[in-house]
């Protein structure tokens, strides 16, 4: 029952975020929304495991989190540099 409440809340949040992803208005709004949606899928998979009584598959959530992070950072790097930023990184002063 309580997992059901959690999963409904996650789905509602996903819907709200999806609306923001569709509205935009800037590219960065969309990327923010999509990144947030990704972390919501991590939560979704975690709660889903408990809802179905098979919580062993949390590795999946871990992988999602990893992929979501890599996806966001690579998109931003490509938007900024046009490639993975190797050239710029070797010239620019390191920005921590």
């Amino acid at each position: 029952m309580m997992f059901l409440v959690a999963i409904i809340a996650i789905v509602v949040t996903m819907l709200l975020i999806l609306v923001r992803a569709l509205l935009g208005p800037t590219v960065y709004d969309r990327i923010l929304a999509i990144n947030l949606f990704g972390t919501k899928t991590v939560l979704f998979v975690a709660v889903l495991g408990f809802l179905n009584g098979r919580p062993e598959f949390l590795d999946l959530g871990l992988i999602y989190a990893l992929i979501n992070f890599i996806g966001t950072v690579t998109v931003l790097k490509f938007m900024q540099y046009g490639d993975l930023g190797w050239e710029a990184a070797s010239k620019e002063k390191p920005d921590v």
Binding site: T41, N52, Y64, G71, M79, E87
Partner: protein, 188 residues
């Protein structure tokens, strides 16, 4: 069971919305992220259907590798979609609808989800796989045991194909990554 059905419907409608957004956006950076999101959603759907191994592959390949490949491609081309005349989109729509209809028609031949009299459930090998697996091979997961050992040669062939494809893609993209850039020329 009803929650499963409801969640299925919700996930599928999210996927439909994301698909619509992919078709409508012109800037391709968010589109690359949305395709990744689409993969995550379909992976969630696979988890819901208890196909965890497929979900893992879908997440890693669909959301991870594909996104990076898309972006690498944007590095070579432009990241904005060229507007397409309306007549051509209609042709595309027709082709897509036709393919979808054929797929739906084909799926009618498939056994019902979870039914007991399918080859998967009745084949004599199933008992051997499930019962003698722990004695014959020391792999704890049935799917992994079948893929990695009982059908090892089959999987080896698959891996060779995937590996070759990966090398091909890397060669295509890698050649362009190492071409001399404007800044290099200026320094010479």
């Amino acid at each position: 069971m009803t929650t499963d059905i409801a969640l299925n419907i919700v996930l599928l409608s999210f996927m439909a919305i994301v698909g619509m957004a992919i078709a409508r956006l012109r800037n391709l950076f968010p589109v690359a992220m949305l395709t990744g999101l689409y993969s995550l959603l379909s992976a969630s759907l696979f988890t819901l259907l208890d196909a965890v191994d497929v979900a893992l592959t879908e997440a890693a390949v669909g959301a991870g590798v594909t996104t990076v490949l898309f972006l690498a491609t944007f590095g070579l081309t432009r990241a904005r979609e060229k507007p397409v005349p309306r007549s051509r989109t209609l042709i595309g729509l027709a082709v897509t609808m036709l393919t979808g209809a054929v797929l739906v028609y084909a799926s009618l031949d498939m056994p019902h989800f979870g039914s007991a009299d399918t080859p998967v459930q009745t084949h004599p090998l199933r008992d051997r796989y499930l019962n003698q697996m722990s004695e014959e091979i020391d792999v704890p997961n049935a799917v992994t045991a079948v893929l990695g050992s009982y059908r090892g040669y089959d999987t080896l062939g698959e891996v060779v194909v995937v590996f070759t494809a990966g090398i091909g893609v890397l060669m295509l993209l890698g050649v362009a990554w190492h071409r001399p850039r404007k800044s290099d020329k200026r320094e010479q």
